[in-house]
Symmetry: C2
Subunit: 343 residues, 2 copies
């Protein structure tokens, strides 16, 4: 026999299908007697409600679709923690789909969610373009986390990345650095605001911004770092697009016998657990990831349950986390003889 249905349970309990439904949704208006009978029958048969039938009949799914750019990046998994916790609290089921860095996958993910009739979508760090975003937002409440431009119809939860980058620059300058270069995140969705923040802050402080197009992975660090050391003798600090990149830079500097932070300071971004690894201990910029996830669910639920219709933009504040890779620059003479005094 196939999976038992409500009909089967009803038959066995000697009641009607509707009564079984009421019991399953523990409605108050059902006699204790019948309730017991139904519950027994259900257990005996190993009955399990069919979610599709339920969703179809109920015309709602209580489900929110989460699409994440890259499951490997620890940044995203912590945002998911916040999302799951809040969704649990609000009795919403969440589905997770992984973009895997692939635009096509992300598009398919959105389509899947739409067909699934999710009641809301949360896009975490995805790089969908405006058109795709808006197309999706027409059909369902949509909030982007750590990604995405301003758009009517799309809610945004993010941190002020421009300010975050400025924090890094200001910290380095306050330590006495002037020749600070930025290893930028290339096509990563957050690359632009961080670059912007870096450039603005440098200019504001009367310094010359210098940017090397790099990327957002550890591997991307090597060529950029090698290049920098080749062309520039005087650089004393690097502001890396993210922690992963910073880890790569650290490695490269190590190979080049350049001590951190004695001869080169380094700041990352995201404050993922990578930066916290004792052995690396990278000074970085924190984003409140769990809170971002929580807020994303809250925000999307405002549309679903409270019927909000104007877009909102929630911006959290980044924070400097001081660790061991940023310190005062070496005195000039030390720079000149970098080789001699290296680690």
């Amino acid at each position: 026999m196939n999976r038992p249905t409500m009909e089967d349970v009803a038959l066995r309990a000697g009641v009607s299908r509707a009564l079984v439904s009421l019991v399953m949704n523990d409605s108050p208006k059902v006699s204790e007697e019948k309730r017991q009978a139904v519950e027994m029958a259900a257990v005996d048969l190993g009955y399990r409600p069919n979610l599709h039938a339920r969703n179809l009949a109920q015309q709602r799914t209580q489900t929110i679709g989460v699409l994440v750019n890259d499951l490997h990046n620890p940044f995203f998994s912590e945002v998911i923690d916040g999302i799951e916790a809040e969704a649990d609290r609000r009795n919403m089921q969440v589905l997770i789909l992984n973009g895997g860095h692939h635009g096509a996958r992300e598009e398919r993910g959105i389509e899947t969610y739409l067909q699934f009739q999710v009641e809301g979508m949360v896009l975490v760090g995805t790089r969908l373009d405006d058109q795709q975003l808006l197309a999706a937002a027409e059909n369902v409440p949509l909030v982007t986390v750590a990604a995405g431009w301003e758009h009517p119809g799309v809610d945004i939860v993010t941190t002020d990345e421009v300010a975050g980058a400025a924090l890094a620059v200001e910290h380095l300058v306050s330590l006495g650095h002037e020749a600070i270069v930025h290893f930028d995140g290339a096509q990563n969705i957050s690359a632009a605001p961080r670059r912007q923040g870096y450039v603005d802050a440098m200019r504001r402080l009367g310094l010359e911004p210098r940017i090397i197009l790099t990327g957002d992975s550890e591997a991307a660090a090597r060529p950029a770092c090698d290049h920098l050391l080749e062309i520039s003798e005087e650089t004393t600090a690097i502001f890396a697009f993210n922690d992963l990149l910073a880890a790569g830079v650290l490695d490269c500097l190590n190979d080049h016998q350049i001590a951190v932070p004695d001869h080169m300071s380094l700041i990352g971004y995201d404050n993922t657990f990578i930066a916290a690894l004792g052995h690396l201990s990278i000074t970085t910029i924190n984003q409140p990831r769990v809170e971002m996830g929580r807020l994303a669910i809250e925000t999307v639920l405002e549309r679903i349950e409270d019927g909000r219709t104007e877009p909102v933009r929630r911006v959290l504040q980044p924070e400097l986390i001081e660790r061991d890779t940023a310190a005062a620059p070496p005195i000039k003479t030390a720079i000149a003889s970098r080789e001699d005094t290296a680690l």
Copy 2:
């Protein structure tokens, strides 16, 4: 107006609902003319098939549920890569649910999948007990990855972790180590086989196993490491339960001014990107994670599509990855004056 349905599309295209269905599932037996008409109507209306209705009518979901123990651990995200790639190739949709280290969440996840009518389930590193496992396996093809005991009705994809641990021990011994201690994974599902492999290998080589109950996170390393250094002067090598733990140990040794690998050798497990981080460069044991994911889907599909019924157990081989944390032990005199010669 609500979401358009097939009915709406049919009306607009001037055909029957069934015809629309045929077009949607691009059946060959529909005239080019009508197909065009239907497609136009669908686009005009922004029609999107309702997955629940489809699943209900079709009596299948083409969906495999993946339940993963901990999204933070990079080990799991790579298994997921393999799962997604293979599922794509085989035209199966995968859903991901996160156990988040929580037994209760895992149970709920299984229940959700069952109600969802998934056609198969993949459990990655979960710690469900036998009873829960079997209960689930009764309803749907089930394969565990890197987790779970032998069970009729449950397929297993794993690596030979006993052999993996032995690999670590043998490598250290071949370098000349004798006083090798194991920091074990406590309640982690893989702790037992790795511990076993360590003990067996040590005994086989005539050495005395020494185990310190530790855990599976970076944070767990500190107390164990402190403890070890307090009680034992002669230890020359540590075999850590996993890379994360090894990273923590590295940090602790660093604080204690013990040079790695000069005065202490260290081997991790999993070969996650943590171990590969240039700055850490931890010698470790590799598990072919992507292949494990791929194989998991293949295995579950054998039951779904080919109707296999006897359980299988697919065991892949682990592999030693030599990096920079394991070398010959210091000569005896160096050990005695560890403090003096430290980094």
